[in-house]
Amino acid sequence: MLARILSIVRKDLAYTRKEHILLYMLLFPLVLAVAMRLFLPSVEQLDMTFAIDQSVPAEIAAQLETYAKLETVTDRNQLEERVQRFDDVPGIYYENGRYFVLLEGNESSAIQDLPGAILDRLNVGEPAKVERESLGRASLFRQFVAIMLVITCGAIGGLAIGLSIVNDRETRTLRAYAVSPLSTLEYIVGKSSVALILALGLSLAVAAIIMGGTAIDYGRLTVAVLASLGINIAIGLVLGLLANNQITAIAVVKVLFIITQGIPVAALLIPARFLPVLYPFPNYWAFESLRRILVEPGLSTLLSNSIAFFSSLLLIAVMVPVIRRKFRLG
């Protein structure tokens, strides 16, 4: 049994090397993680922007700069033009002893109210004593980028499994397997093992690159990634089942990527009361485990890991007889 599995692994490694898939599979997430790491500081420290014209006194402009990034324009027309651009940038001008906050009308209520509150605050001083207590935590954006990249690494593992099955279909290698003693389970294990080991290694590497080496509980992260590996096998099997050549594979990949990436994004965007809509998807639970590890480390991942693991196992169990029948394996 082990020999048969190793033979598939060896064949797959030869294929991935020949097609440079291994190189791209390794390089792509790491390059993306390094690029995101370089890009993150500019997003994490993004300040609001106010546009002011030259009527605003210099000392007020200097004080405004402690609250927002300033863009100075020469006159009122330019100020109006700036305010009406696509982004939400309010304008400020000074006339007859009063400040005017120029708004387009579709800004969020916070953006509408803040410039005026700041101007009033500069005038009234400090009526209440304010203290700040910071937990000194890193940006949430960083955590979510790390989660999405870990999920992408898993999806890439699934993609590699699927493309390898598609290659077996195109080259008719599956027909040779069908007349060999190879079982369906051995085929799946053989196809999955290298991709999944790489996906695990890459997941840990990209998380370390984004979060910084010491900010993660690698033990918990490893368990969560392992618990979700079944999802990536399932992605690969679905791709292998639905696509009989590389051409149809890309169409299937397009749909699968919406599910693998779209569900975590939806989980971030939709209010908590709508989250049960996502409960049937195993990758929601994988996302939830990662969220708990990287965002709310105090929470347990036992339930989410268990659901991700067993639901993906169930998905694979449902697919095994279909694969056996379709590929005529033992």
Partner: protein
């Protein structure tokens, strides 16, 4: 011209046989269901703010509860600390004291930009003066250029984002399929010896992809927005951006030998193209590098067309920029196609 139309027909037929139309129908229906039924009408992107009112007479709660809702108020400072500790997107504001001796504590995560916390502090000072009825001299007035603007529901406002990330990226992915299929089947070799040349090859494929993208856009747009739309501007913007991204897809695909190789850079390009989604979801924050990505003006331009705010003169500069970018990319694509696809040995 006849040759071009024949090629276009052939590319559309190949696209049909490859199931591209089935894919866009499937994805389109999914998007419509997502927008019409799954996404909420209201959603807040950003920090969750909680308030603890420990002031004498509960001055803050009595003034703000109706506006902010009871869920925004916590009972004690200890509870606030617990919430901020456990919820990574939470910050809490504790009001204490009385009119003569007020105090405010901001409990925050520490990852917020310092200027944003300064602005919050300013807003809290003014809020305190208002809720405590202490009176203050307002030194500003608001001038709203278009006061009657209605904000679209959150679910519908996601449509330009979907168009930017999904519809116009379709050509990028699908054109590669046509290229690799022709490489694998050897039909590119037959094309090379024909007198048709690189431009016909590029434009027939690109136009086929643009047509598919436009159909995809229609599948999503009509059931979600309806027919009340400036269709000319809308379709022109979708078609031009799709053409640009399709040409970019062909330019990159030309350098790869198989689809398996191309998939990984493709996902990378998708990730970069997706960055303007940050600015779209948080329009008060702007970063020059993000606004330089073609998906940025597309998303905001489509938002203006779908949910007009009365902006004028935005479309022409947008279209001119897209045309210029497309001209540059098409020249690069022709060079790549000539070098990699129209010569023997590739």
């Amino acid at each position: 011209m006849r040759e071009f139309l024949n090629l276009l027909k052939q590319d559309l037929l190949v696209s049909w046989r490859n199931g591209f139309f089935a894919v866009i129908l499937l994805l389109g229906v999914g998007m419509v269901l997502l927008v019409n039924f799954a996404l909420p009408e209201q959603a807040k992107v950003g920090a969750a703010e909680y308030i603890v009112d420990l002031t004498n007479g509960r001055l803050v709660r009595s003034s703000l509860e109706e506006r902010l809702g009871a869920d925004a108020f916590l009972q004690s400072e200890a509870e606030a600390r617990e919430v901020v500790e456990s919820k990574r997107n939470a910050l809490a504001i504790v009001f204490r004291g009385d009119r003569d001796n007020p105090g405010i504590t901001i409990l925050h995560q520490g990852n917020e930009p310092p200027k944003a916390i300064n602005a919050l502090e300013a807003a809290l000072q003014i809020t305190w003066l208002q809720v405590a009825d202490l009176g203050y001299q307002k030194v500003h007035e608001q001038v709203i250029l278009r006061p009657d603007l209605e904000k679209p529901p959150f679910s519908k406002s996601m449509l330009p984002l979907l168009m930017g990330l999904e519809v116009v990226m379709l050509g990028f992915a699908f054109i590669s399929v046509l290229v690799f299929q022709e490489k694998a089947e050897g039909s590119i070799k037959a094309y090379r010896v024909s007198p048709r040349g690189a431009w016909l090859y590029i434009w027939s494929k690109s136009l086929a992809m643009v047509l598919i993208s436009v159909v995809y856009a229609l599948i999503i747009t009509v059931p979600t927005i309806g027919l009340n739309l400036q269709w000319g501007s809308y379709l022109l913007l979708v078609a031009l951006t799709s053409l640009l991204m399709t040409m970019l897809g062909l330019f990159i695909a030309a350098w790869f030998d198989t689809l398996s190789e191309f998939i990984f850079p493709m996902v990378g390009v998708f990730a970069v193209i997706g960055l303007p989604a940050i600015s779209y979801l948080m329009p008060s924050f702007q970063l020059p590098i993000i606004s330089a990505i073609p998906a940025y003006p597309l998303m905001f331009g489509l938002r203006e067309i779908m949910f007009p705010t009365g902006k004028t003169g935005f479309l022409l500069p947008l279209l001119i920029t897209l045309v210029l970018e497309t001209v540059v990319i098409s020249l690069l694509t022709r060079w790549a196609v000539e070098k990699r696809l129209m010569r023997e040995g590739y």
